[in-house]
Symmetry: C2
Subunit: 401 residues, 2 copies
């Protein structure tokens, strides 16, 4: 197990993608992350896709390496116990990570009254606290209207804002922890999913392009913007993405395809500077016209052979099945992955943290997701010091799950 954060103890009260991913990111670096759910599970516990026995593959994938506690959060005694777990003592504890409405018993005020150095990370939908999810944030951000070939907007399938928000939560937690270690002060840290989208649109220059140039990026299919990149069908019905950003990559593409002489004619033909990435972007249709027959005459495997060791920047398209079947990076040949047994599901290929620590040896923190509530008794006993008779009473009373 990674020992990097092994002294940290974090409580998570969450659902869906962003906050669970934030917690899992820290859990896979060694932190103890205790996810507290209502008895029977939160609203994400049965989310698709499911295994044949009904276990959510989505939930198990997003809650790996955590502990699970279930409590009757709709009853005062259950809430009291949850508060006690969240605010339990420990120099490297006192963290709450949540994307659920955090008011009343789970508000910062109530919790910090019990532990004044509490660090609470709270994800909301909009900056005013109103609800939003990845899809209802994404539609307003401009990207769907710039995706595909135009005509109608295209939503991303990757919940990219949720993923980014989860990683901002992890960053924010460690930043707030750092300050608390220096000053002793805790604090509430907020992230709005819409702000993650808006900041990213700004960080990539799109807002400035509107303001300064009045330019609204149009959809250009799978082409790169501002440099050369396009996808091509191959002779065997597959597809390859080719990119040439640097002059070195551009030269490599000409050499590997044997088309350097023809590509050199495009500068004068189109009146652009082909030693400039912007010039190659402007001439992209002419470039593609020269390259397309080369790809169409070769199978994907022949393309791979021609590009091997050439310095050409390219990649094959794969669906999720082909990714699993074909890509050596998506196997235990890559230290990112390990084959583990996921209780309720069976043997799975499971990724650990993409953060690697070469000096600490192989990544080994590939713990499975917990069974729902499997750690309730241990946490009540170890963290709150409850005797087993009291834990039994809480089960009988339907307070502990």
């Amino acid at each position: 197990m990674s020992s990097l954060l092994s002294d940290l103890r974090i409580v998570e009260v969450s659902a869906f993608v962003a906050a669970p991913l934030g917690g899992m990111t820290l859990a896979q670096l060694g932190a103890e992350v205790i996810r507290i759910d209502p008895i029977g599970g939160n609203i994400d516990y049965r989310r698709w896709p499911l295994a044949p026995n009904g276990t959510s593959l989505y939930w198990t994938a997003l809650n790996k390496a955590k502990r699970s506690v279930t409590l009757a959060l709709d009853r005062p005694e259950g809430r009291e116990i949850a508060q006690a777990i969240i605010t339990a003592s420990g120099e490297d504890a006192g963290f709450l990570l949540t994307n659920l409405p955090a008011s009343g018993w789970m508000g910062y005020e109530a919790l910090s009254a019990r532990r004044d150095d509490l660090i609470m990370l709270r994800l909301t939908g909009n900056p005013d606290g109103s609800a939003a999810v990845d899809n209802t944030v994404n539609c307003a951000g401009g990207f769907p209207m710039a995706t595909g070939r135009g005509g109608e907007p295209v939503n991303h399938v990757l919940p990219a804002w949720d993923v980014a928000a989860g990683l901002y939560l992890a960053t924010g937690l460690l930043a707030a922890d750092r300050q608390r270690r220096r000053t002793g002060r805790g604090q509430e840290v907020t992230v709005a999913l819409a702000d993650v989208m808006l900041a990213t649109v700004g960080n990539l220059g799109y807002l400035a392009d509107v303001r300064v140039n009045g330019a609204v990026r149009p959809p250009i299919g799978n082409d790169l913007y501002g440099a050369y990149g396009r996808d091509f069908p191959t002779a065997d019905g597959r597809r390859a993405m080719v990119v040439a950003i640097s002059n070195r990559q551009w030269k490599a593409l000409g050499k590997a395809t044997g088309l350097a002489d023809r590509l050199a004619m495009i500068g004068p033909l189109m009146g652009v500077d082909m030693d400039d990435e912007g010039g190659r972007f402007q001439a992209r249709d002419a470039i593609s016209a020269v390259l397309a027959p080369w790809f169409a005459a070769r199978t994907l495997s022949e393309v791979e052979g021609a590009f091997a060791g050439s310095g050409v920047l390219w990649g094959p398209y794969r669906d999720f099945g082909q990714l699993v079947a074909e890509d050596a990076r998506c196997s235990t040949a890559n230290p990112l992955f390990r084959e583990i047994d996921q209780p309720g599901v069976g043997p799975l290929l499971v990724p650990g943290s993409p953060l690697g620590f070469p000096g600490m040896g192989e990544r080994t923190d590939h713990r499975p997701a917990p069974g729902l509530g499997q750690d309730t008794d241990a946490v009540l006993a170890d963290l709150l010091g409850l005797p087993s008779a009291e834990i039994g009473r809480l089960h009988d009373a339907g307070i502990a799950g």
Copy 2:
């Protein structure tokens, strides 16, 4: 300025999106981030989109709140100075963040020989160290084949893997810093862009779905998977995305549209349980058939009026121009944003960190991007203690830019 990380000093040698975003994420939380570039700028310095005077809106957007030092990195004396800046003393310094090939003078071995507690964050393309960019990683990850309406793959326009990788770098740097503060030990931390993609595909359950169910997620347009969500054209040629995941959101949608009675007929019609998100997903075409005329009869503004305060989860589609023109969240009404003067560009609406700290008052760290090389002399003097005559000699010799 946010004081959260104000004692941290980080050196960045980078280009493009991921590592610059990682550095900027920490800079906007108050860290001193010194980006070192070759004299004249690195390969991203002129990247599109550009302002009319040629200033890259992309570069300025991704390098806000940093300091800029330029050195002749192709000459031994320039490299020696860069090494000295990277390894300069300070308990809260000794960090290098890079996505460039890090060998030789910039390798961990060479740098840690000068400062043995160095923390180095290094982004590569593939786990074996070979080159890859967002587009050549994304094509293999399955998402383009599951995006849009099928027929051909659709690339995302948001460089989602670069964004996620940048945030993993920020998380990894703070995690390694935390361990160094406890143990005194530095280390090299690596992230491969392909691993960020692969881990995310796994974390979202796609790999398990292939393994357990043999299921390869097909493209389903803008619909949600596993719950109800679809986009609808409005009477005025705009478009709205509507989502109902929870039963509460589903009921709100029926009530706000006045179509609850009709929607209630769909359960028996389609033979599904409409109180279950999976049932609503299966019946999504029937649901959409009932809802579509309601949207088609209303302008976007009328839809907005009908949904205001209703608890319906929805959002309008906007292109980048409409985002700037229409969305109050994309304005200084949102504390995320501030209007600042970006040297070389002019007044801009600029996002700070999406991480908010309500207890620390308003977010104020909205520093612009530096002019290229503007901090060279100050860093050489303050950090390395070079006298002004020596700095002058370095300029004359073309070592400092």
